[in-house]
Symmetry: none
Subunit: 410 residues, 2 copies
């Protein structure tokens, strides 16, 4: 097993202004491999601290993976400190420079002096091009140790690590991959998922597993303990038995992707009517590339007036049952279906907070409706937590509501 230390740099981390997500991402990617992450370190943009931490990491691990400090400004110190430690000079990376120049040209601008810093790497290192930003990453070997450096911005670091760094590391150390299988379970409590996994008839002596939780989603990762292959069919059979329709297709990375795939396979189009989620449901569906083939559109009707005018919710329903009611949700879903001529529509109306709650309908009360040509389904959930959590869970219930209507009609 190769030992890996992960370093995240940036004063915002040690100031406590930003929570580091890079180290956890890198570790999760490495978990199913034979690379073992033994430590995470975070340091500010201070040469002395960075130098000391790099030294510590290189002494305890075979491979050091760092992110951050590759930008254009004075507090971006990675190249300088790495060059000093490894005794190599900085050199401009030609392809990255050309890419940066054409980028600035397309905006009618010239690169500033600091920008060239961004495309500088230690001489002789392996360069990883940056496809979602400007600063390249690099890998350098020294005394049997490997150092990888990547930009710190998560949406630049993540694809670089997944698509370039990890394949490179796996090719350098063949046999480092362990077999793994990920199962995603929607809207089930972690403790329940945990008990269901334990109840599976699986050879747990050779299979390791762990659960990661995010709002409304639990991800179970099965990993072979040794170099063996996992019994994939058996695991999937057991998981389907345990989780039923709460389990996503294994090819789906998240709920919205699973939903778009199901809609496309069934040839069904969808529309959305949102109140408290304010566009989040539509946004999540349209996050999926190719969603335009199934997504007709959405209406964010925050005010009662908008619910009446755009979604044809009658004043009587709004007056009798209130804006946050299953009756209003259903009328909104019907309105959205008509508006967009969609096969199925989902509607969400609720109280996200912090204001607006009453004794009968406290903050977190959210009503949902899913309407198709044949059937309607309405339900209400009371979601604990702050505004962000209520909105996030509401979007999860809405997306899973449409998903459920397709799965049960099958």
């Amino acid at each position: 097993m190769r030992r890996v230390a992960v370093i995240s740099t940036g004063s915002e981390l040690v100031y406590g202004r930003l929570q580091d997500s890079n180290a956890a991402f890198i570790s999760a990617c490495l978990f199913p491999t034979a690379f073992t992450v033994i430590s995470h370190h975070a340091v500010g943009d201070v040469s002395e601290d960075l130098r000391r931490t790099l030294g510590t990491a290189l002494s305890e691990a075979d491979i050091v993976i760092m992110s951050g400090g590759l930008g254009p400004t004075d507090d971006d110190l990675t190249i300088e400190v790495v060059g000093e430690l490894f005794g190599v000079r900085p050199a401009v990376d030609g392809p990255s420079l050309a890419r940066m120049e054409s980028f600035f040209k397309s905006m009618g601008r010239e690169p500033l002096s600091g920008d060239v810093r961004m495309v500088t790497v230690p001489e002789g290192s392996v360069v990883f091009g940056n496809e979602t930003g400007l600063a390249p990453g690099f890998m350098i070997n020294h005394n049997d140790k490997i150092l990888v450096a990547m930009p710190g911005v998560p949406h630049e670091m993540k694809p670089m690590f997944e698509n370039k760094v990890l394949p490179r590391l796996l090719s350098l150390f063949p046999g480092s991959g362990r077999d793994s299988l990920t199962v995603r379970v929607v809207l089930m409590r972690e403790a329940e998922v945990n008990n269901l996994v334990r109840s599976m008839s699986l050879p747990f002596k050779t299979i390791d597993w762990g659960i990661t939780t995010s709002p409304g989603m639990n991800t179970v990762c099965f990993v072979s303990r040794a170099a063996d292959l996992l019994p994939r069919e058996l695991i999937l059979k057991e998981a389907r038995r345990a989780f039923g329709d709460s389990m996503l297709d294994t090819s789906s990375k998240n709920l919205e992707e699973d939903l778009v795939r199901l809609l496309e396979a069934a040839g069904i189009t969808v529309a959305v009517a949102e109140s408290c989620t304010g566009g989040l449901v539509a946004q999540r569906i349209t996050d999926v590339p190719g969603s335009s083939r199934v997504f007709q559109g959405g209406i964010v009707a925050y005010s009662n007036e908008a619910k009446e005018n755009l979604l044809d919710v009658s004043a009587e329903i709004l007056y009798t049952y209130g804006a946050v009611s299953e009756e209003t949700a259903l009328a909104m879903a019907h309105g959205a279906r008509r508006c967009f001529k969609a096969d199925v529509a989902v509607a969400v109306t609720g109280i996200a907070g912090p204001g607006g709650g009453t004794e009968a309908k406290p903050v977190g009360t959210v009503c949902f409706a899913v309407g198709t040509a044949d059937t309607d389904r309405v339900f209400t959930r009371v979601i604990p937590g702050d505004r962000e959590r209520v909105r996030r869970f509401s979007s999860q219930y809405a997306l899973d509501g449409i998903r459920g209507s397709i799965l049960t009609s099958k």
Copy 2:
């Protein structure tokens, strides 16, 4: 300044299953004090790794604050490793034991043998009672170094740190904190922000500063180097001169909050028409608590049909200029203003990718329109990057477009 190192322990951290929030919390609490956090470390529940990391932290810092590893199970190693390093024996803490016994008694249970581990601390240490859980924290001095250990569960650690540990540390080392000021700059390049900060007429000998970048936003944090107060008025004057309208109000935490505040102050209502952003613009506005006072609603019109039927974009415009054009964007904005009877509307239409690009309109081409009763403004941006980045930047341009229309009409 006392130097602080923060250690978080737990195998779930280095497995990447859980993102550490304790280190950021502790750092944010210490930031305005005279204690300087110089590093974060995370290690798994492995004696050797914990011992090594504690050694590193004690060698680089005056104070080490750790969380985790105080539970009842075999992988809770803190007491053992600390005792060994500091040469002290473990001892049961009487008050914590009594508290635990009465807790279990109230549930009709006896403590298990492992549970006593939880109320054990190094002999002679200062004990911090746990008011939201069972395991106490402790503080121990050795060779002029201070070690603080707390439980890892955030809802136990946070109140213990805020209410007990921090006051204790502040009383041990009296002296004032550092002053800080944050300035947020929207849609300006990091290198440009960096140059503008450098060009400010400020006493940089006494002011430290750093920049954090997120998509479409740079955050500049000014910190006093010593115990002095910052010259706040001077910094704000210089920042306003340098950044102009690109700078948010200092009370706004992000662009959407700044926009909602401006709309509210001006008594202006807003509506949104979105194509490629698919609801993201509406979602970001409605993320702000109280946005219902200014936000009328939004329409996500993905298809041409929806643009015609719901937003009254004429077939002629769509045919002549195409769905991704400033002309269509303007017609969408007009449609949204009418639909929702709003004072101002913004429209976004573009190609988020990965498919749909042409030579004339490559992926990333996005057209915007901001319409009010008096004036219209249209603009086009070509945004490099993947679908997520194009959508995120598009929402930033849209929100800042509305913001600009308010600021210039002032």
